[in-house]
Symmetry: D2
Subunit: 348 residues, 4 copies
């Protein structure tokens, strides 16, 4: 028991994907397991997701549940980008550096055009000036834009920023995708509606992340424009992402977006992020690399303090991230006491 | 409650993928959910699977857990088949007709060479005579063979048949894959060891199915030859099949292969299959399309009896399968009473 | 000089691709070489091909010149077939057995569904009964049909046969492609107009072969329906098939279709084919494997006679073709004396 | 006649691909056309290229002739880069911006990592610091490096630069490719041997360009390491780049590398480049954007002078190139009088 405790502390703050499912999601799984059901998403629970998500987004959307965020991103982009297309994205973006080329695989070889942006976020003007060569047969063709919300520095795009980027994308007839791996955390941070953060700001397709914020393996590709769906159903099946017992993914999503579970989880994670961030900043040698908008804390910590943490079983380092800062992530299950234990290490 | 009961009956026998997880697997999920763990399969449970499977197969194997059987097949084949390669398979095989071209996608365009075989099974001689063109630049190159165990007619290859096919494959320097979506049912049917049904009979790579026989979404790609693994880890990640919370797939597999849960489930399913098969054959107008080797019953049923079943809420038909028979599938959770209710419909 | 003569005889009748360019085409090359011109097909000669081909086909067509027949076929099919699509073709077809998987490569993994047909030709009824699974996400999707004219047995589809096949294709919303590697030979054989043999019989896209019949390396992809062109220009460039000095391909095509050069060449080749066929049949031990419709002669020849030919420097065999016959091909430059020398070998 | 003259002037200096073939190459074509020959590169001329190129490079090389430079590059890179690989290249490189994604297509989705370099050339140190993530499953894998010689600014890498870059590549176990579209011009500029500019400086695979410098459509993929050839023959056929009458590509290459034709042509083009460059620089308002190392002249020209040129039938502009300079290219057939006419326009 003590040993388990120790192990648990080691991965705490490493990421929000070290967590399991929240009770509501787990119960939904158990309930879904009680009876036999039609496979491949033809069960009532799966079919009803269309309505549930449409309500949440205040618009009729088309939803494809999937167990993998990387698949959600790559499949979404593959409906918007031909094999000879350009996907404009931040050079730090997950699709560019952390998916082993999934967008390239699913599009059949599209090019990810890297933008420098600012603080991890694309800037509309830079995007605009990088879109060129349309119709010229020698050049890969501008096709889509992808932004991450929260972006890879833990910072949230505000609504104005999203709108400006979408406008540039649409001005050039490009479609725009949002990688919402931490969609709920960003939403809570901006304190706006799901509609406002997406289609009302010009987003065409969303990867709606749920795994990190209380599910086991559940994401959803959400189309705000039905004409963009294209052949997704076939592409998904062909990639092995249409699970036979799909209803267990749907059950997770259903519980997650019911009774504001997702928002409750994200609010908690964000407040823990703030608490952690503020606690660390009390130490004069520690400073933020990026603002703590939600549940990711990027801090520059002196080497000797890092060593202290790791001697206590944590595994943190400042080498993984370009900013040479440590990333600490809070989650739906982070306890105040987890943070206090962590902060106490520096004090001692 | 009554309504749920009605619904349940409707999908009964439709397939073994209408079921949920068995209690042991579900409990393992709950237990795995208690603590935070390292993501992407770097947790102890996932890592320990290598040993557990090695024990079961009496050989050091290399295991990649995945949530999807289609992905398991296509990823396995992609390590054995270049983009210009031939995969020899039965024309009825799942990889050929039910995966929307997944092997083609994952291999980058390989050709599935269809064999007619007999009763759904490949015949070694036909395979042999179809392998040609090696080294000739105009022809796609013979690369791999794939057999399904249970095959698509519910029939099991016996050990001699597997050995003969493997010998032909190896004689021509091809690798051989087994799609074991119903591996346990076949194993119980043949009453042999996992080793005997695979590498001892010449199989190089196995898709080890667990979803249909008591899991929610859990399969494993098992390599009996380490040199065939190649770049699978990258190909899997790139395809979105390396789940961040992979440990929940591993937890299912771990419980499934512990304490003979998998064999117990398959034995039950097979005995229910036999019971169903025998019950149906008592009616003089009903005959088997294929022998009932395990948990799949293919029967030719007069139209008026089919109508009787469907009027009671079942959804069965004899148009989906080439043999113009009805397929009925029993599972780990089929109850004797399910079969009796079903058979009673004809009696009345 | 004598030695060259010997060598020449060796390859005679091996194929029509052993020949060089006819004088008209060669002169066009020389003329095109006199001046500098805009690259990538933006020269006048290339642009004018649209009009010239439109005249020949009595319809406004869209033409893409290319140096490779395999590329012409695969590019054409890639505009009509998604990555998860089915291409229906004869099992002996060049795209299926002699292009090392080019259609699979260019489509991103489509499936070539093999039809048995009759005498090398697809039969409309068999095609009809093989098209199924439309809209079902588990199955690769019926997308296109491809026929070869002359087909791989040297036989020509007659207009009625083409029409029937096209009707079936269109009834199922599939597009139909003609691989016209020996288009001119077939046309002369049927004694009909280019329009009749293509769009008037329902053909949507044509690979117009010219290399075998008097060019060095020149083919054209011809679209009879502009809406099928899609992204071909980009796909072609991306594949390295938009040559910088494209005008030299265009120059060949221009000369080839001017002044009936192509028809003259094909008429000669066909008449030589007939002469060779008739000469061989005079020997009671030699029989035709397929009718000699044009310039390909498939004959069953006793082993000892084959040996006689090969002892004289020819390289012929009856093992390459499924029908266990020898294939002999005449060409635009076959001389009556070539045939006489050949036939004399048996006489002696 | 006068009109043809006018047209000719218009494209002069636009690129070296506006030219035709030099007399020696054209004569070789004519000679090759005299006789029938075995197709698909199995003729003596094609087979002998292995020896001829081996002599020129002072090493046994493996050569694949092809009609397209884009195909040569993409095919070469596809033997060195898996679908999940990184190709490091200059951001201005032809493979990155002018091949419509050919390397992505041929590799099955590799990522082109853009380097800023200096004056169009990669810098070894920048390359070194950009290679990371090896063995980490989340990241696309460093696989190959490609440099262009002459690079896209008309500048030649000197031997030391090539060596340093190769050393970095090999230090990280990457292979290095040289896009030698203007190989001869660079060679003449450096005044070194083909061996020195390639394998003696660490180059593993070369795209040997001949089209621009006196051929119609002829390039060669040259492997200095046989173990890198891999499955190229199949990949080439599969892409439609194994022409049936391949011998006419081989004939061009054979003549091109015989009797120092290629060097003679390049020397002439380079000297014309120098003459043009020097002539332009006499005008105080014109300055070089990059040094004129060979046959490409990048000059910044005032708008009114550009207008003057274009009013005389030239089509030049300073918008196509990032450096906002005009690119003027001399060729094997540029006449001194062409340059004088051009320069006279400014004088007047």
């Amino acid at each position: 028991m003590t040993q388990i405790k120790t192990k648990r502390e080691r991965v705490k703050f490493a990421s929000d994907n070290v967590t399991g499912a929240c009770p509501e999601v787990l119960n939904a799984l158990l309930k879904a397991n009680e009876d036999d059901k039609t496979p491949y998403g033809n069960d009532d629970l799966s079919k009803n997701l269309q309505n549930k998500f449409s309500e949440i987004f205040e618009k009729e959307v088309i939803v494809f549940p999937t167990a993998s965020g990387t698949a959600a991103n790559a499949l979404a982009l593959s409906t918007m980008t031909p094999s000879f297309g350009n996907i404009y994205c931040h050079r730090l973006s997950h699709i560019n550096v952390d998916e082993c080329g999934a967008p390239e695989f699913y599009t059949g070889g599209a090019k990810l055009v890297n933008l420098d942006g600012n603080n991890g976020k694309i800037i509309a003007e830079e995007l605009d000036s990088n879109i060129s060569g349309k119709g010229v047969v020698h050049h890969t063709q501008p096709s889509s834009v992808s932004i991450t919300q929260l972006c890879e520095t833990g910072v949230a795009y505000n609504l104005d920023e999203i709108k400006k980027i979408s406008e540039i994308a649409h001005k050039h007839d490009l479609n725009i995708h949002m990688d919402g791996a931490r969609f709920a955390n960003a939403l809570v941070s901006l304190n706006c509606s799901p509609a406002e953060m997406t289609w009302k700001s010009g987003i065409d397709v969303l990867s709606f992340g749920a795994t990190k914020n209380g599910c086991l393996a559940a994401e959803a590709i959400i189309f705000f424009k039905p004409e963009l769906v294209g052949n997704l159903a076939f592409l998904m099946k062909r990639a092995g992402h249409l699970l036979s017992k799909m209803r267990f993914v749907s059950a997770q999503l259903d519980a997650y977006i019911s009774d504001e579970v997702w928002l409750k989880n994200a609010k908690h994670a964000n407040s823990m992020g703030k608490k952690l961030s503020q606690g660390l900043l009390k130490h004069k040698n520690i400073e933020l690399a990026y603002p703590t908008d939600a549940n990711e804390v990027f801090v520059k910590i002196p080497k000797n303090i890092i060593d202290q943490f790791n001697s206590q079983g944590y595994k943190i380092n400042d080498e993984e991230w370009e900013c040479k800062a440590v990333r600490l992530v809070t989650a739906w299950n982070t306890d105040s006491s987890d943070i206090e234990s962590f902060l106490n290490i520096i004090k001692s």
